[in-house]
Amino acid sequence: MNKTLLSIAVVTGLALSAQANAAVYAEFPITVKNYTGDKVSSESYGGQMARHGLHNSVKNLISKGASLDQTQAYFSGKAAGRAIINPVSKDGFPVLQTQIDELSKGKNLSGKTYKGLITGMPGGLTGLELLELMMDKAAQTDNGFDPLTGYDYTQLISKFAMGAVFYNQAVDSYLDEKLDKPNNKAYKEGTAYTGKEHVWDEAFGYFGAPAHALELTAAEVYGIAKQKPESFAKADYNGDGKVSLVNEMAYAHAYYAASFDKGGKTQYLHTIVQAFVDGRSLIASANGETLTDAQLSELMGYTDIIKTQWQRLIAEAVFKYAGSVYGDIEKLETIVEANGDAVKAYRNYAKHWGELKGFALALETGGVNLGETGVKLNRLLGYSPVLLGNTQVAALIDGEFVQSSSVSMSEYRVQMIKLQKLMIDDFGVEARNKDVTANLAQLVDSLGEALAAEND
């Protein structure tokens, strides 16, 4: 009797712990037949986390006015001994690794940058060529900002690279043609994971979520990316007193997903991470055999969720920054009208525009033809912010951005309204931060939407 009770307790305990583990992207079993190494679990995405470290570092370097050599060391270089410039330990938020090589050796960003055509900027450049050009230009400015064109290269490069490297690699490569990799043999000889397991891991890594994201709220993940001391305990999942930049930190789109979700209207972070966890569990359940048609079709269901949600969350960022730019132009117009000092307002305008454009360009890198939506997006946004003299970059000639006359600033502001509407109509954004029509909803609330049968 006692034995029976004990075995029931053990089985229940095991079932519960298996359930708990299913929420974390970790401890997936090794399914490779005849594996002889010393690994105990099969997930592996250090290369992706190294690239998050590289991206964060490039952004930090440009904003501090680093030389081209310094930034290129992180963008295209692969040399050993590169320190992680960001994220680094902060008071109350110590991180475990200090060197890129501790995350993964010999990695760069340029090798994984989208090489398709980017239509949202002039010159007919590929994603990689555009990033290279912007890196060159950034090095010629003070701290990454060019007041003549209104380009904030720190923001442009960072937000576009998040698309052209992370988003593109994940949705257009790993969750696309590379997902055809076999599951019935090791990825490479001696690895603890199969081909399918590994490409799935790599896609997950690019999203930038901590492995235990499903056990955290959006606000907590946001706090982790911001390295807030109060978020440290939440980040340090294994309780070793330091945050591992491999699986306990939040980066890039996962951070943006959390920033939208904490508003309470969306669930991008958890939906995407859940699909990654479910897909990975499904692959593991094949136990090192080729996936059946039914399993493959289920897996495609998870990739669809990830692709749709990821694209929509980038569209949310376009929506948000279109709203910021709208507000910036309103402020600029007021200051200019009053002959005030517009330097700070102009800088904010350029910063938000850089974020807006970077995310908009990222939408081009998801391996789907945006069609008319892409054309509208590019026309509404243009190649640069509209400048105070009503000019805008119109072309790239001999490596130089050339301006010509454009719509007025006031018309450009209205184009931001249309841009937000485009994101609602064509991408179905729901978080809608910085909604320029928010005041409409507030006023309706203040008057009451309720219907009452009352006579005069």
Binding site: S410, T437, N439, A450
Partner: protein, 333 residues
Amino acid sequence: MMHEVLEFTQSWFSELTGLVSQGSKRVFVGYLLSAAIIAVIWLMWQRRLNFLAAVGWLCRPQTWWSNSSRSDYWLLLLNQPLMLLLSPLLLSKLVLATSIFYGLSDWVDRPLWSSDISAFWVSVLFTSSLFVVDDASRYYLHRLMHRWPVLWAFHRVHHTAESLTPFTVFRTHPVEGMLFGLRSALVQGSLIGIFVFLFGDLVTLLSLLGANIFTSVLNLLGANLRHSPVPISYGKKLEAWLISPAQHQIHHSQAPEHWNKNFGAFIAVWDRLGNTIEYGSNTQELTYGLGHQKPHEHKLLTLYWQPFKNCWRCLRRNKLEPKIAMSVISETP
């Protein structure tokens, strides 16, 4: 299923309690109290009653517990859940405001003068426009209700009231409630869309007790007395601008010379423009209702169902043209 029923009952209950607890509602307890104070003072001053007699006169059971008033309470109770069910069918203010905002942004340039106005004046302009346009549209719809036989069929319910209390505003057929909702959505949605297009974030509603300041001030000044037996007149000069309780009571009068008078809600100008004004008097003595009313007019089934029958009669006889509705249904207003 059980859960939905419970949720629905809860929102029904909270709507009902909201009626008296929220300053945005016409029968908010504060407005009722201020109306009562005004009524007592008026009765002591005009009718020479002492305080207790004035209170006693106000609380007469023939006012508050007549067949007519009791059916008002039933309608108030039953219309609430009906309107909860019907409201999703209506045009949403927000959808309309957003469409107008986008439409204007698409086709029109924001005029330069719009950025010269300060936030305070934008709010004054918005709040007063809302009050005036809303009031004008109420006048017009009310007028149509009396002139179009198919609409009168429903509005008639309100005019079968034979004793007036502040709760008579709820003596309203749900179909009429829907029309009022549509009117309010059209007016408020359009104005919000236009103002936000012109002035962006500067637009705010000047409010008092959670409602448009003009409306709540007028409610505090005793607007609820329009449905009461207290004939407070403002005198001809002021009544040319603002509808007094006495004027609205004339609107409910059985006397033929009072038919189709004083359609206005707050502003009397529309009645002057539409030639429908009638001035009140502190000494007026009126009989309310339609005359020749049958006792079953206060029965719930009649109140809800009769309008459909009347409406069908109009449609069948092809009596659709706007004309004096009462002559069509052959009765007094």
